[in-house]
């Protein structure tokens, strides 16, 4: 179990396939039954999940947030494969929906997070405003630069991680390296 309080916070989880990102997402989902995960690749069997009809549709994500997340206000909402929907600048944040979560999730009482393969693939506001950034091993030059911009030393730390270890940046200043998470309740091997 993670020893990081994500209550009412926003967070991002960055990791390529096979690094341990999905297990971390599942472990976080295990922390509360009052969760919803946006699951375009149908990876989170056993969890309360929304499977979009059109897994490339920004509109469907916006509709889902406005129609389900905001009224139901789960304690935890995670958008997996967020890079499909929250495109980098100069694209705008999907509104209504993601932009509202960014502005109001704390008032909704919803902790929300985004899973993505690489930090450079998503809108920088999401990363820069996130209270917690989880990053798995990456040797990409752009990723290294991006992490270094977030916090000096983070790029190097991410580059030198062992399998399934991850770096956590909290509040933009506290950097730590974590051992792999334990097996979640509903592991599915992707």
């Amino acid at each position: 179990m993670l020893d990081i309080d994500l209550t009412n916070k926003s967070f991002v989880i960055c990791g390529q396939k096979g690094t341990g990102k999905s297990w971390l997402i599942k472990s976080i989902l295990d922390s509360t039954p009052n969760h919803i995960v946006y699951d375009p690749l149908s990876e989170h069997d056993g969890y309360r999940r929304y499977i979009p009809e059109d897994r490339d549709s920004q509109q469907e994500l916006s509709d889902m947030i406005v129609g389900i997340v905001v009224p139901q206000r789960p304690s935890l909402f995670i958008i997996d494969e967020a890079n499909k929907y929250i495109l980098p600048k100069p694209s705008r944040l999907p509104r209504p929906g993601v932009a509202d979560l960014l502005d109001f999730s704390r008032h909704y009482g919803v902790a929300w997070g985004c899973g993505m393969r690489r930090p450079v693939q998503v809108h920088s506001d999401v990363l820069e405003l996130a209270a917690v950034v989880f990053a798995f091993q990456s040797s990409g030059k752009n990723d290294h630069g991006y992490y270094e911009d977030l916090h000096v030393g983070m790029g190097d730390a991410v580059r030198n991680l062992q399998d399934h270890q991850f770096v956590v940046l909290q509040g933009g200043k506290d950097l730590s390296i974590h051992a792999p998470v334990e097996m979640p309740r509903h592991p599915s091997y992707t």
Partner: protein, 161 residues
């Protein structure tokens, strides 16, 4: 609502949005159904077609209201005039300060300018008229301050002008 582990939500679980989309498109199964996109578009276009004249009408009404607002102060003043007790007269204010532009004789100003130019003789006794005028034009920045310097004298002489 009790969260249910393993529950799978789909687009059908967004009831409000489906209802809104249906009302806009005017057709059932408009959201998520195959070929629903064109029906949606047609519905939106029809809605716009109906809404545009309404917007125009609202705009015209707004303009009329603004015009009425612009006339409002004038009407208010008329009401004040017709009241039986007239408002107290405004406190006497000091008489208006009239600033009268000083009168200067153009001839004297011109003479002063020529006087300034007379110094040129000392610099070049064989100066031609053309060259003098050119110099005057080129050095107007010097000549004008000279006139300005003599301005008090010109003003003092003003009654005799």
């Amino acid at each position: 609502m009790t969260p249910n582990f393993g529950e799978v939500l789909t687009r059908a679980d967004i009831p409000g949005l489906v209802d809104v989309a249906r009302s806009v498109s005017g057709v059932s199964n408009a959201v998520g159904g195959s070929g629903g996109g064109l029906n949606d578009l047609e519905g939106i276009l029809r809605l716009l077609e109906r809404a545009v004249p309404l917007f125009e009408q609202a705009g015209a009404t707004l303009m009329k209201m603004r015009a009425m607002d612009a006339q409002a102060p004038e009407q208010q003043q008329q009401v004040m005039v017709s009241t039986p007790t007239p408002p107290p007269p405004p406190a006497p204010s000091p008489g208006p300060t009239v600033i009268v532009a000083p009168k200067l004789s153009p001839i004297k100003v011109y003479s002063a300018a020529l006087g300034a130019l007379a110094d040129l003789e000392k610099m070049d006794p064989e100066l031609s008229i053309g060259a003098a005028l050119k110099l005057a034009r080129d050095y107007k920045d010097m000549i004008l301050p000279m006139i300005e310097e003599k301005l008090p004298e010109l003003l003092e002489d003003e009654p005799n002008a």
